[in-house]
Symmetry: C2
Subunit: 342 residues, 2 copies
Amino acid sequence: MSDIGIKELARIAGVSTASVSRALSNPERVSKKMRDRVQAAAKRVGYQPNRLGASLRTSRSGNIVAIIPDISDTFNSGVIQSLERAAAERGYSVLFGDTQGIRERELVYGAMVRSRQADGIIVFSHRLPFTAEELQSENFKLPPLVNSCELADSPHIDTSNLPWVSIDNVQAGRDAVTHLIELGHQNIAVITGDIESPSTVQRLEGYRLALSAAGIAYREENVYQGAYTLEAGVRITKQVLLAKHRPSAIFCMSDEMAMGCVATLKEHGFGVPEDMSVVGFDDIRFAQYLSPPLTTIAQPVEAIGRTCANILIDLIEDIAEPESKHILPHKLVVRSSATTPR
Amino acid sequence: MSDIGIKELARIAGVSTASVSRALSNPERVSKKMRDRVQAAAKRVGYQPNRLGASLRTSRSGNIVAIIPDISDTFNSGVIQSLERAAAERGYSVLFGDTQGIRERELVYGAMVRSRQADGIIVFSHRLPFTAEELQSENFKLPPLVNSCELADSPHIDTSNLPWVSIDNVQAGRDAVTHLIELGHQNIAVITGDIESPSTVQRLEGYRLALSAAGIAYREENVYQGAYTLEAGVRITKQVLLAKHRPSAIFCMSDEMAMGCVATLKEHGFGVPEDMSVVGFDDIRFAQYLSPPLTTIAQPVEAIGRTCANILIDLIEDIAEPESKHILPHKLVVRSSATTPR
DNA sequence: TTGAAAGCGCTAACAG
DNA sequence: CTGTTAGCGCTTTCAA
């Protein structure tokens, strides 16, 4: 049970190291007798292959890195949870990089593929984790990479052609706002996520479309630029309450923002939904337990994580087209935070 | 900028591979001239050392694995966030293992040190990620490991001697309950976390001590066995409401449980805190934005993660005593979910 | 201070 | 089907 290498095990089993390697990694390419013999010996002495040796030889680390701006965001942590599980099922481990949006840290994680610590990257941030210099360089080749639709365009590369997985954010934004319109709201504010994020831009487009389809004029002053955080929800909601033509409903582009929004409304004496309707986005675990339970757009968190992992691994293992796009279904979940305006 | 190895770089710089290695990894052991020359060449061609080669040679992967039952738990994700950051500052990456409490997955992650994919382990689960067989084996040596005070005793090893970092859970539990007693509560229910978890056992002990110090009889039926999840909070709270001698206050051993508890109370028409006081534990990000804002015990999330990382790395790099214990400070945060009973 | 060379543990040609 | 052997890219003696 002490630390034994392949040589030692080969000696013990009375076979060559090549046979040990084969019997353990490609059992089908070896006789049953050999297989049993080696596997028995391996088990007996508690042989655990050194993956570093194998990785060096094969140039495959078996790791993928997930670049995430903020793991403590509830939506993100749900995605990474399913991502990790799906990766594990295919024999990959995930190195995770919480960047807090810091460019330097993004670059560090982006470099992990080049330094062979990882075989591919899943990007949940807005920027590619490579320097402009790298991107412009002729012999720079993008490593296997999938983006979860938060990746903005880059001046140096057409990010829209990279593999991605996402919901239909335009339609989802439209669904949320249409719901409010159907309840009778005409004056609807929206608090956006980070404005560089494609998901925000798309959801905002959905907001526009919903308004326009209902013949309601789009008014610039109803669009509040925020960020996908609870704190932003708190901060911006105060601004909304200050508005000259105060809206009767607020569409928040994340549930965390909606939490902050609702808390702030209550703090200022506004009942939700009696005085102000609120619709969120994500359907995080907590949404149904808030008071009031949050009406929101549900994202298929589990599927997003799983799909990201699987596409990336397909890419790494060369069994996927390099431009796979996956649109996953979303769903409006009606609870109690939005109602007919008074 | 294409992929260049150390040999090629050595050739380009006109020096030996040994010098390249030294100039890059131990610049102080090389002349200034050599250093500049190599570093310039490395920069020019965009040399990125292959960590696999280095790792194989040095038997150091530069990774640590964090074994976590549930990353989407808000408290856990906060800890892992700071853990990752602290690890990164010391040049380590974190592989994370979300086990969902599944034994098999724990073992997979536990094996990563033996297979050299990682240099040490941080354990947030109840069990050591090793089989009984392994633990009993004579020449089994525990890898560098720190536990965040969730590790239960093992029949095969004295886990209490392993390095750990934690708050003083006994005192924290006592503080929470004392607060309720000082408000005037006499009949206080407690909803526990997973009963195998030392943190739960300790907090329960604190509950006992607080009662006893106030001369209040400890009553078995006021102790509800739960789990640190929102769903458990929901489920158990219903049981509490069914109690013959209904308590006037509930101490929940996590904020997520408290969220579920408060939601359930409201759903059944109980005002919080008018009809029922609730105290939580953790002070997760959301606690202050719930309605009512949650009175809770704040854990130093950032410090816990950072300390775990630093102790583990000290252990790996042989610069720490193997039995370091760290008690971090907690704090009662009084908000609005607990008040004087009617 | 620098270079030559061995070797970390494994896999994959290649030969038998 | 199995064994021999070279070598993945790096670090680290050892000698100069």
